[in-house]
């Protein structure tokens, strides 16, 4: 007993002050890629190196334009694009504050004149680039195999104000792993550790969807978890919020297009907030949860 007290006193207060949500990542942290628009020539080398559809290029010959898109919702933060860039235009400086209410907000667009791009010695023609789906075309909620089991009347109703009023003080979250690699789970468990201490914000992880105000869903939604996710959604009382946590949950991430995955939570149930990251660090998950409650404004 006394040893426990002694240890607790020796450790002191481990919890970060509430302002941590806006703090920057520690030095050395990679985080998300950022493109320096002044240095980028639109050559397309990074598109070839990107293992997901995070970086895409489209050549519009008629308009003489090349469109380059960086979608954080598809990005797995692997860092392969930075060394591929011949102009050092891509850097990783610990960026993580990316949570957004729509997938569109997660896309950074660049437009180049195609003839200008061709002048660069590093230019890669679009036919030599991997065929990828442009992030902008990614749909929001799409009905999946079990759409008939979702109570549809709830979708699109104006619940925002009500939610703010109802969940302003305390929020009960049911975490649903829809086929993640457990990286996101590691970080979600960390939300409750003494350093982040989610409970002080009234955030409580509950054991059943029937107690939940919010579903925090991870993973690309595997074919074999699709029904379980729909059932969990249907079991949560309305009004409810759905947060897609991690790049797999946003877009399918590196597992997109696979026979065994559906490719993102919004292909199965409607999503309110998207949190990119692989996995998102605890600060990023908090930002997403606060954004869902309109308590946090993304920069």
């Amino acid at each position: 007993m006394f040893r426990i007290l002694k240890k607790n006193i020796a450790v002191g207060k481990a919890t970060l002050p509430p302002a941590f949500v806006n703090a920057s990542a520690p030095e050395g942290s990679l985080g998300a890629p950022e493109i320096d628009f002044l240095k980028c020539t639109g050559c397309g080398k990074c598109v070839a190196a990107c293992p997901t559809s995070a970086l895409t290029a489209e050549d519009r010959e008629a308009e003489g334009k090349r469109l380059l898109h960086l979608s954080y919702g598809n990005c797995i933060f692997c860092g392969l694009c930075a060394p591929a860039c011949p102009h050092q235009a891509i850097s990783f400086k610990g960026k993580f504050d990316l949570a957004a209410k729509t997938k569109k907000e997660l896309v950074r667009k660049l437009s180049f004149s195609l003839s200008g791009c061709r002048k660069d010695a590093a230019f890669v023609t679009s036919s030599a680039l991997p065929v990828k789906k442009m992030a902008e075309e990614a749909p929001g909620f799409a009905q999946g195999d079990f759409a008939d089991r979702i109570p549809m009347r709830e979708i699109g109703s104006k619940l925002k104000e009500k939610i703010k009023r109802l969940f302003g003080r305390s929020l009960h979250i049911r975490e649903v792993d829809a086929g993640s690699c457990n990286g996101c789970e590691v970080e979600i468990v960390n939300l409750s550790n003494p350093v982040y201490d989610a409970e002080r914000f009234g955030i409580h992880f509950v054991a059943s969807p029937r107690h939940a105000d919010m579903l925090l869903v991870t993973g690309p939604v595997t074919r074999q978890m699709e029904l379980a996710l729909v059932k969990t959604y249907a079991a949560a009382p309305s009004p409810k919020l759905v947060v897609a946590c991690g790049s797999c949950a946003v877009s399918g991430g590196i597992f997109e297009g696979n026979y065994a995955t559906v490719g993102g939570v919004d292909r199965v149930v409607p999503v309110d907030i998207y949190i990119p990251g692989c996995p998102p660090r605890p600060e990023a998950i908090f930002q997403g949860i606060f954004l869902a409650l309109d308590k946090f404004r993304a920069k």
């Binding site: 040893r3 990679l30 293992p51 993640s180 990286g183 960390n190 992880f205 379980a228 696979n258 026979y259």
Partner: protein, 525 residues
């Protein structure tokens, strides 16, 4: 002294069709399919080899048949024996090893589901990886199956094994669990509180990862490997990189080898911290949980500062490591490790004296040595049941051959033993990180990158925090990746839990589960 190959040839003669050229420490033999059971029995019983895993691939284009690779460990000589056999498409069946080697059970059922080859004489031929709503006759690992295919669902129901009798009831748990853990289904048959039978039904997180890797570049494959099991990201990526480096004959510079050891042990530290914290939480002793979760957070932040990411992702590319640890950083890291060790030690000494914890973990979830041995247990679970087995010593890789460390083995097989193993391994990891940092030579961080050798196969292996992790990669005639088999420690260890819980009470199940700490995603892939 005769080599294993010579002994085999003497004993089996014509059944051994030829030796194939093997890379690194692998010897390959091609045998006829009907002799495979006899040869395996001989290898295991007479030559004391250990069956590791079975990989099947669709090589119809190359040689007109499917190929099965049975991989054995010959620890006495630090060698691996790969027994290869061909299965013709017109007779897609092979003799099952499972009646003799129960550890082959899931291995063979996986091949049945994904490749459509039937293990003849298998005691339990139900579906495993693909659930019942997957249509008949579609096999994802066959080359004529497109990986983007959208497959319609069919009706089907999994048949659980039933225990019947007065007062016996079933408790279904999952796939969505009460805690923040991965999905899987557990079906208990209980009488009162006592568990009579547990049947696990997994593969809810099957993401077709192995199929996704086919035809990809090595860099892409490593990204996929990092996402097989999030908390063991680094172990998987190093195992995968080792297989690729063997296939491309890339020399990893010594400094990079030592840095990989530092990262691998940092990963073991945060995994084991979280396991012990979880055990403490599951018995309701929150002091231990919060102290150790705090230490884990310190470790994750440390990871981010030395490697760029909290889970050590992106730290290991092909041929070496991404970033260096500077001299100043090295000193800082050594100081941090010393502090964390003192912090951990104080907490753990308190834990061992708390009766409410010890009462719950002693004699709970006993896994007998014979059962662990028969089912091919690996990692801390095996070492807590008296099986002295660790790849870092038995098949030393990277810089481990230059470092000295102990391998803790306990024999009771209960939750307490598993916790003891992990606590001792944490101390060994502190020591290994310290020693590796001190012994680290100067030099480059990445070897020269070369293309993969065509039509070859190679094995990469790492003792991950959960146990032996193997990556088996084959290339086609153009040097492209044609098959990527991942044998994660969880795939080997999940069946153990069905035995460890017997005669325990249902409320102790979370504790037993936590003490084994298996990855669902690593298992399901």
């Amino acid at each position: 002294m005769k080599t294993a190959l010579e002994i085999l040839r003497e004993r089996f003669g014509d059944a051994i069709r030829k030796d194939l050229k093997g890379l690194a420490k692998q010897s390959h033999i091609l045998v006829t399919k009907n002799e495979i059971v006899e040869i395996t029995i001989f290898l295991v019983q007479n030559l004391r080899m250990r069956f590791l895993f079975l990989s099947g691939s669709d090589t119809r284009k190359e040689n007109g048949a499917f190929t099965l690779h049975y991989i054995f460990s010959y620890a006495q000589q630090d060698e691996f024996l790969v027994v290869e056999t061909r299965i013709e498409e017109k007779d897609p069946s092979f003799l099952s090893l499972s009646p003799f080697l129960p550890q082959a059970n899931w291995q063979e059922r996986e091949i049945q589901d994904l490749l459509g080859l039937i293990p003849k004489g298998h005691p339990d031929p139900r579906r495993l990886v693909l659930h019942e709503d997957w249509p008949e006759g579609l096999f994802p690992l066959r080359k004529d199956f497109k990986f983007q295919a959208k497959i319609p669902r069919q009706k089907g129901e999994y048949a659980f094994e039933r225990v019947e009798g007065e007062g016996i009831f079933e408790i279904p748990v999952g796939p969505v669990h009460a805690g923040i853990i991965e999905p899987g289904h557990f079906r208990f048959s209980a009488a009162g509180e006592s568990i009579l039978k547990l049947e696990i039904r997994h593969f809810y997180t099957h993401k077709g990862t192995e199929k996704s890797g086919e035809g990809r570049s090595p860099a892409h494959l490593l990204c996929l490997a990092e996402r097989i099991s999030g908390d063991n990201s680094l172990a998987h990526v190093v195992a995968c990189a080792q297989a690729l480096e063997t296939l491309a004959q890339i020399d990893v510079p010594p400094r990079a080898q030592f840095l990989r050891v530092v990262f691998l042990e940092l990963e073991r530290l945060h995994n084991h911290m979280s396991d012990i914290a979880g055990i403490s939480l599951d018995v309701g002793f929150s002091f231990g949980a919060s102290q150790l979760m705090r230490v884990k957070e310190t470790l994750l932040r440390l990871n981010e500062q030395v490697a760029g990411t909290r889970l050590l992702r992106s730290a290991v590319p092909l041929g070496g490591v991404r970033a260096d640890i500077s001299e100043a950083r090295k000193q800082w890291l050594m100081e941090q490790i010393k502090k964390i060790k003192e912090d951990f030690e104080k907490t753990i000494q308190i834990l061992w004296q708390v009766d409410s914890l010890m009462d719950r973990i002693e004699t709970t979830g006993i896994l007998k040595k014979e059962i662990a041995e028969t089912l091919g247990a690996v990692g801390p679970a095996a070492r807590a049941s008296g099986i002295d087995r660790d790849l870092r010593r038995d098949h030393p890789y990277g810089a481990y051959k230059d470092l000295f460390f102990m391998i803790p083995v306990f024999s009771d097989g209960d939750v307490e033993s598993r916790m003891k193993v992990k606590v001792q391994e944490i101390y060994q990891s502190f020591k290994l990180i310290y020693d590796a940092l001190r012994a680290m030579p100067q030099g480059s961080l990445r070897g020269e990158i070369k293309p993969l050798i065509p039509s070859q196969s190679a094995l990469g292996y790492v003792e991950s925090p959960r146990g032996e992790c193997f990556h088996w990669i084959s290339t086609d005639g153009h040097g492209k990746i044609s098959r990527w088999k991942v044998q994660s420690p969880s795939f080997a260890n999940w069946p153990l839990i069905e035995y460890a819980v017997l005669e325990n009470i249902v409320p102790d199940f979370p504790l037993i589960n936590k003490s084994l700490n298996l990855s669902y995603s690593g298992n399901d892939r």
